[in-house]
Symmetry: C2
Subunit: 473 residues, 2 copies
Amino acid sequence: MSIATTELSIFQQNVAAFKAIVGESFVFTDHETLDVFAKDETENLYFLPDIVIKPRTAEEISAVMKICNQHKIPVTPRGAGTGLSGGALPHFGGVLLSFERMNNIIEIDERNLQVTVEPGVITEVLQNAVKEKGLFYPPDPSSKGSCFIGGNIAENSGGPKAVKYGVVKDYVLNLEVVLPTGDIIWTGANVLKNATGYNLTQLMVGSEGTLGIVTKIVLKLIPHPQYDLLMLVPFNDLEKAGAAVSAIFRAGFTPSALELVEVDALRIVSKYIDNTTIPIGDDVAAHLIIEVDGNDIEVLMKEMEAIGTVLMDFDCGEIYFADDAQQKAALWKLRRRVAEAVKIDGYTIEEDTVVPRAALPALIKGVKALRTQYNFDVVCYGHAGDGNLHVRIKKPGSIYSLNNPDVIPALKALFELVKSLGGTISGEHGIGLIQKEYIPIVFDDITLHIMRGIKKVFDPNNILNSGKIFDAH
Amino acid sequence: MSIATTELSIFQQNVAAFKAIVGESFVFTDHETLDVFAKDETENLYFLPDIVIKPRTAEEISAVMKICNQHKIPVTPRGAGTGLSGGALPHFGGVLLSFERMNNIIEIDERNLQVTVEPGVITEVLQNAVKEKGLFYPPDPSSKGSCFIGGNIAENSGGPKAVKYGVVKDYVLNLEVVLPTGDIIWTGANVLKNATGYNLTQLMVGSEGTLGIVTKIVLKLIPHPQYDLLMLVPFNDLEKAGAAVSAIFRAGFTPSALELVEVDALRIVSKYIDNTTIPIGDDVAAHLIIEVDGNDIEVLMKEMEAIGTVLMDFDCGEIYFADDAQQKAALWKLRRRVAEAVKIDGYTIEEDTVVPRAALPALIKGVKALRTQYNFDVVCYGHAGDGNLHVRIKKPGSIYSLNNPDVIPALKALFELVKSLGGTISGEHGIGLIQKEYIPIVFDDITLHIMRGIKKVFDPNNILNSGKIFDAH
């Protein structure tokens, strides 16, 4: 399918119409602008859109979509471009919709503990705004300082806090959506419980911008916990670190973060951010980063101590407690920069595996076996408390491309391993463009037929972010 | 549509086939059995099925569905028949599928804090089984002693604990589903985070048995809290009780239950269960029932005290603390039996309104105004912490029927009020048969068109629980 090339004149014909809708200065066809939107954080992929539109309202988007739907022009919605699965890349050209102007926090409803936002609000900006009112929006992807909440909805993002507080889907109450046809709907109501019709809200979350364009988001908030404690725990055996994770929960604790990072990853990131604060020992294979939070500091201290006792059984080393806000920030900074640092270091291929928590040691063991078999370097890190392990692969000369014969067999083997452990191929990054080839590993033809059918109900002309997750036809 | 009457011979032709699939003794056509399945807890509705089948496995159901799909025989799945929206009633006759034989707890996975069950397991049986392992499955509808977990999935049930722990949808990780075509799929994976394809799991939850037949359920569990404290707080003003609810959350507390019950409801239930334990004062309009839970008893006591202080601002009366397990059980029994008792007392029409929490006082005030306008008696009670208020109406001579001119205008006005307050028409009971007339109040034609489209993707011949939620066409 190559709508973009065969019908290019359609864009030219409609540029004036688009400008009439959103204003002259928010429609772009110059190469410099198009180039910015041709890439995201997904490896080396590059696809130029034909036109970039920066709308301000749902009504503007509706008018744009009506034209695109009529002329079957491909449309790709894009948040901040921090995605790791190529979901926002305009691989069929066409119109790219950027939400950077739709960045209002419309209302923080303190009486109902809800917030209504536009999709272009940066996640951390939202978190800080509600924190000022004593409220908490927990989902915190590593890119929270730059990613948009709309993109988080599209990918059903997680982050370290998900282990206690859940992922994006657990906070979305209601969505205003512009359908590919240009119709505008609300998916639900601003309520905590809803047994009224199909759950279109949850269907939209994680649908990677393929079913509709989210233009307003109503999120549930919770009271912000007053205290948190953070520790870094070294292990000289990676599998034992993995095994310790499930033991913590089995002992009755639910940390507010439970991250696993292979020591190589910490060493690499230490090179790039000049780490002088956080101790990284010599005989270490991996660390767990464990946080607990709550409203009673003494209870938290007891909890930390008890978790420490659990960890002893897994031969952990000396525990480092982040004593103050500065040390905590330093440790989190180290963790959050891992993805960026290891990518610079050549680990360009990132997979987002997720398994039942207790299967982590088996997954880690399996990854190491694949390393030998397929001859790649690998570092693992991620949200171990959720069983969500990011597997970063380095293979000299092999960067991501959609048909790279160097990496496809290794990734296939990895995903088959994940599937065999009861897991799936993406925990929080989405399938997008780069994983769709592997989706038959986890969904059979019948299930994919159902998903394609749903896509067609929302998008009869297959214009919206087509060819992401699966090929629609 | 009257498939049942026009094509009755199809059932006769297929009885032998059904018997060959599930066994002679699990296919019923005798009136006595059919009569049992012609009604549920929804008022006085009565629809006889043509045939009752009690399968044992997903494979049996698959084989049954293939026949039904081929001959366009209506199929109605049914749990324990405790539903309050007529969702399990075979209003087109045809095949009724009962899950009573599919009642195994397949695996309690203590390492991953998950449980895999069949749909016919009674919710309380499941809760007790996991509690023995120190684990907690929180959703607890009033009917938990008899309802099936499969029905809870169909209706996205809640219950008192939802205010802290969420509803059924928050615990469902993965579902095995027999599609109307007879195909068997799994909707997801047994993982805590999933960004792999459309969220069919969440689409199934709350779809009221219209999209597929759930045959295995994987649920997330959490550690069981060690302690809980319970209090009963009287108010002489119903609206003030409603206003106190949102103040509790705003003060930073998240109780594990926060119920509101009008005093009339407690008086009525006291008649039927011989209440001698729980004090019900004279000058009281309503009570809040407030529970907190956690692992540190001192923290909980402090929390209760602080909540009490918040409530003073709303002129609450003397607080009754349930001191021991027996008193707690007595208070919960009183609350759980309300629906049953007020129904016996003539309040036969139950609506399941839900609004943003802070809109509760406005909802209560509006209900009272409607009472005057439409001349009915009413008692209100429910899960106030979630903004979920059950409104029970008594109007001499008027029981539920699908076209009762006595009640339709009043219910329409009630639902329009709910909508105007940002709420919706069902929080946890579902739309089923009896509320579908009102669904256009909350969803426009476009949204309903999308829902009907989804129905058609799953059920092209419109055989599975057709005519529930909306007319599928």
